[in-house]
Amino acid sequence: MSLDLVRMVLDHQLVDVDGIDCGKVDDLELEQAGGKLRVRAIVAGPGSAATELWPFGGWIIRKLFGTAATKIPWHEVVTVDCKVELRLHAESFGLLAAERRAARWISRLPLSE
């Protein structure tokens, strides 16, 4: 079973051990060591996206979403199917911080149970 990094991993959905959506694979960190090329980590978070865009777009993204870019070591990946499944909860990787911030103000609205 071969895995094509661009076609099957990059820009695909990340889910944590509970099946909760926690972002996309924004980039992959590669390392060359011992004559081999390895995937070291998944990079997720707005900071990584900002570098891909033409300068102006990147600046807007940085202003709106911050520069946090989370790195998830590849050994935390359980499987790669339609989605990339991770071994632990999203919090363990520092993901979904923005989601939790949003949830705090949402919970202040009436009847948000």
Partner: protein, 412 residues
Amino acid sequence: MSKFLEIFLGILTAMGGFVEVGELVFSVQAGAKFGYSLLWVVLLGTIGIIVYGEMAGRIAAVTKQPVMSIIRARTGFPVGIVVLVAANLVSLLTCTAEIGGMAMVLSLLVAWPHALLLVLSVLALLASVWLLSLQWIERVFGLLGLLLIAYMVTAVRLDPDWTKLLASFAPNIPQLGPGHSGITYAYFVVALASSIMLPYETYFYASGAIEDGWKPEDVTTNRMVAGIGFVLGSVLAVALVIVGADFLAPKGIDPELPGAAALAPASFYGQAGLLTALLGMLFAFAGAAIENALTVAYNLAQFFGWPWGKEQRPQQAARFTSTWIAVFVIAGLVMLTGVDPISLVEYSIVFAVVILPLTYLPVLMFARDRRVMGSHVNGRLASGLGWFYLAVVSLAALAAIPLLILSHGGAV
């Protein structure tokens, strides 16, 4: 039996939820300006939205992936973000236009200040989406939108020339009177087609299918709902064309405002007819506003990989929820600046067709990919029609803005 009921409701919902302010305005105007001769465009557009709605629904049922997620996965971040921004700007514009339409209809029902009607509309929309589940939103607004049947009844009552009507479903170029130019006709062809094939319909339909938990076995249901629901919705559009052609034009009534169309049922059925027609429009516009706000939220969340879904508790999909709330608020604020809702409707329709190829192409690519769709991949018919419509909307996309300018917004 319950499955049958589900399908039945799905069809009714698609039908009632299909008409929105742009389609209403352009259908009535098309009839008033050009008689029945634009009916072939209604047919063309209906087949187009069925083709692409079915593909999007099938992709959702088989892959459980929504359109924006697929676009990002296949075309990458830089291309995907262009599609995301374009689609969301158009949906925001459309949502704003629907809210403007709601306020216009309300102003015919109660003599309250316009700003108040706008605020009430926004509050009602916020409350509806916050409190109701997706299924109930679709049912309430879809079924109440069916009050638009008043127009279908009126159209029959107007006793149109049925032979001439049927003939007009074949593509034709009419004898244009001195009052109207070919450019205006071409503009209406593009605008009417666009109002039927609006991009949000594809995004929303697919997201709804995933929220409803459609599985590959549901593909046949998908085909039926898409087919019948959209066809019935277009029958409403045909009725509006007839109202424009056989009621408003002979009486010399300017068809530009949504309220003008309601004069037809009013004239035959009095207060009851007027009220039914106005309430039908109100709920249809509200339903469309909701679908567009949710589409913006769906697209954003699905592109960036956030938790999403109306069926989740608001805190479980907090950024998704914040987004649709923000859309309603922004749309309301834009309308409060006093912008002309009819102009807004026009721009939303024109820009929608300009970005339509960007929406349709990834859907077609994915539906044709056997690696992903397995046995549910496009057959020759689906692919053939898919390519045909991609060509049609690409042509329309190129022509839309020049035609808008040259025809002075259809006024020439």
